[in-house]
Amino acid sequence: MKKFSKKLLTISTSLAIAGTVSFAHADTIKIALAGPVTGAVAQYGDMQMIGAQMAIEKINAAGGVNGDTLEGIIYDDACDPKQAVAVANKIVNDGVKFVVGHLCSSSTQPASDIYEDEGILMVTAASTSPDITTRGYKMVFRTIGLDSHQGPTAGNYIADTIKPKNLAIIHDKQQYGEGIASAVKKTVESKGINVVMYEGVTAGDKDFSSLIAKMKKENVDFIYYGGYHPELGLILRQSAEQGLAAKFMGPEGVGNKDISTIAGAASEGLMVTLPPSFDLNPENKSLVDSFKAKNQDPSGAFVMTAYSAVQVIADGIKLTKGTDTNAIQQALRSNSFSTPTGSLEFDEKGDLKSFDFVIYEWHSDGTKTALK
């Protein structure tokens, strides 16, 4: 017992010391990487962390920013809003002025209140909820598209190209899934498509047989699913088993190799709205190779957006030749940045001026081909 408390003491003192000396090194610029390292969505957090870490490594290898090196510090919020606020206060406390994160919109939202007040520049690479940038904040940016962009893209394609007789829209009752699903619903209804079902499922559920039987009864011929791949994968698999003959479509949250692993042959022909796959862009070849050399998967949805988030911050620091976040936020709004996710420009709200979504057809071996 004594030994243990001694260890605890050492840890807490070293923590305290680490807290006080954070200003000592003027030659490193700290970037907080905030997102889930533990918890049920840790796998998405991984994507963000490897992308951001890689960017930091590359930038440092190329001589850093204005001669200073970047340092990424991981802050785990477990996608829990309560911990996100604690993490945000810790970041303020540690004197970090730049944040890449958070991941879940419900964590990003309360944390961004604190960053805005304290003049900390936050770039999220993964939170797609429109609410985050509609509050007139200056310090909040994102390098990913919004649910409200993606929904209409999918909705227009369904209404103009597919023209289903009986459309079902299913979502997972979470911020991301329901947000996109409702945007799709609005778009298709304005174009006169018959939405016969609009229903939520519980994230984490495994059995969708009851829902599938219901869709069979309603003669649904096309299903839009707002949510992530684990649930849609199971819905696809169980639909095939129960003989529901319908086409499926989903947002980028389902466009993940794992969906083919889960659904197998049933994932053939699934349509997915995705950002252009940056890892297949020939210009990113060397970057993709660096990821592969480290045995990391560059195809995750948030890997490249996180890379861009770090790059945008670094370029902002370069442009203003300093770490004054207020100057940087102005620079971000008035310049364009060349990143692996393309040439980025931010609007007044802090969103990207354009973020395209492309419709892909998914294949059962985990590959995809563009439809448009």
Partner: protein
Amino acid sequence: MISQEKIIHGLIAAIATLVLAFPLLGVKLVTDGISPHLENADTNTIVSILVASLAVFFVQVFKDHLSSAFSAIPRPDLLSKIPRPTTTSGRDKAEKIATMLLIAFALAWPFAASRGSVDLATLVLIYVMLGLGLNIVVGLAGLLDLGYVAFYAVGAYSYALLSDYYGLSFWVCLPIAGLLAAAFGFLLGFPVLRLRGDYLAIVTLGFGEIIRIMINNLTSLTGGPNGIGNIPKPTLPAIQTEPDLALVGLEFGKRAKTEGNIPFHEYFGIAYDGSYKVIFLYLLAVLLVVFTIYVIRRLVRMPVGRAWEALREDEIACRSLGLNRTAIKLSAFTMGASFAGFAGAFFAARQGFISPESFTFIESAIILAIVVLGGMGSQFGIILAAIAMTVLPEIAREFQEYRMLLFGVMMVFMMIWRPQGLLPAKRPQLEMTHD
């Protein structure tokens, strides 16, 4: 001497360790592409599994030697460290002084500590409030409630919705949130309180889930999974002299967000500092906790509090004394719920944003763990336990992805180490003395 039996015992334990570890740690199931395959873990993992099972073997074989060595180390007995005057009046006096000192320390501390720790302390205080509230139900009345988080959610959503729809301020909403949560406690408690023991536990768990799912589903009212954002922070009431005499609220943001409020730093003519807000929230939490402690202390000394404990000790004796079982249980349930309501409203104010995912079952479990670890019934113990349960995961942050793993281990370990809780409750008792 090492007997043969012990060696066999050690072998069984060592083999069990191998069986436990190998299928999950020794191989990794990888599903790249469509067909899954197994990958062997690296040599390090294999070696550590073998070392672990060897260690288990030796620990089992030399268990007696080890435990005799360990018993030489004294177990910390927190209770005995606290001075305990024998006379009742002396004890009261000592307690009063200790409480005063503690409050004084709690009030002065944030001005010396860092922003992160003050914020963490605020979180601890929220859990203290929740722990104290649940303690009425579980510790004092002996009713196992696994859905306490429901009332916490009711409190949080009361404030968020009232301020969102009607623009009511924190100070108006705080009592309303408590009352609403109490009303929910009363309504839910009424039908279920005739259930006993674990049946009550599962029904309360069910209610907790029902309320969370309803909040998630009623999107038009509660925002569903989107939650409610932009919840105003509490204001500090102050008197304004210019242009005319009026009561205003001081806000801690850079600019006042609500019409008629003044930013704190402008009112006092000092420079803006973000930590004022954090410190103010902390002090507010201290105030609420002190209020909670005070009220519960009074209640426990009142007939209703005595009835709670009597009911826990012996239900049949209670009934034969003519006490109304349902009324007593209901009062405990309602009182407990109201404190969760206060805590919820404060939580919503601290977060500025709430969504149903903050009110899951695991939250109830953690509050319950605080009560049990605290020693069921003892208020000081609950404060210690709340600190332990909130600060431990923060310290474990250093261990990154091992954080929650360690948290689970600590929960088990603390139960084994101190099954009676950190500070078991002192029961009020009368002593006969000879003169």
